[in-house]
């Protein structure tokens, strides 16, 4: 089966600019996650969707980050305006149903803020 697809692979922007990431999960996976992974650390959950509804966004900095999953398939994560501390790899993952299911990750988007 095709894996989780993410684009772009790399993005360089200046602080205060905006940026968007795209994710296409594995076909049939109802649950989709966005993680932030800072260099040298484990992934940190930003937001979790079940179909097109938000399950958990408690760690999403909502003053600058937003995410949507229209139609319950693809998802986009946006940052506006970006700060220096947003430099990280943004990973998307999906799982079949959510509860007790392994998550499958894409290769992420590496974001650098100048």
């Amino acid at each position: 089966e095709a894996g989780v697809a993410q684009s772009p692979r790399y993005k360089i922007i200046e602080k205060r600019q905006s940026v968007a990431f795209w994710c296409n999960p594995i076909s049939g996976h109802a649950t989709l996650y966005w993680y932030q992974q800072i260099l040298g650390q484990g992934p940190k959950l930003l937001i979790q969707f079940q179909n097109n509804g938000v399950v958990d966004d408690s760690q999403l900095p909502k003053d600058r980050f937003s995410a949507e999953r229209l139609k319950g398939v693809d998802s986009t994560l946006k940052i506006q305006p970006a700060k220096l501390e947003d430099s990280a790899v943004y990973l998307c993952a999906s799982s079949y149903r959510g509860l007790g299911q392994p998550q499958h990750f894409g290769d992420g988007t590496r974001l650098s803020i100048l």
Binding site: G42, Q48, V55, P102, Q103, F105
Partner: protein, 112 residues
């Protein structure tokens, strides 16, 4: 939130030896655990999982052990190969949803 940590940040082993990577978790209510392997420039790759009703699970060259008494998880890799060099994360899943908490990771280096 939950706290998942690893005892050793780096581990170097000789090719052919067995590797053991350890992980501690803090939430006794967690009932699902996963080990991931992450190579440079790639996303975490699922290795093996275990549920809290088990204490051992084996895969191909890998074994995961779960000790719920002391809230400890370990990953054993048999006959470690150069391709096993990567960062390994344990992730703890709560039983209230499929939210996973990742540790910092252990960097495994295999010496040819």
């Amino acid at each position: 939130g939950e706290s998942v940590g690893l005892h050793l940040p780096t581990l170097s082993v000789q090719e052919g030896d067995n590797s053991i990577i350890n992980c501690a978790y803090s939430n006794s209510a967690s009932d699902y655990f996963i080990w991931y392997k992450q190579e440079s420039g790639k996303g975490p790759q699922f290795i093996i999982d275990i549920r809290s009703n088990m204490d051992k699970r084996q895969g191909q060259r890998v074994t995961v052990l779960l000790n719920k008494t002391v809230k400890h998880l370990s990953l054993q890799i048999a006959a470690t190969q150069p391709g096993d060099s990567a960062v390994y994360f344990c992730a703890e899943g709560g039983n209230t949803g499929n939210q996973f908490y990742f540790g910092t990771g252990t960097s495994l280096t295999v010496i040819p």
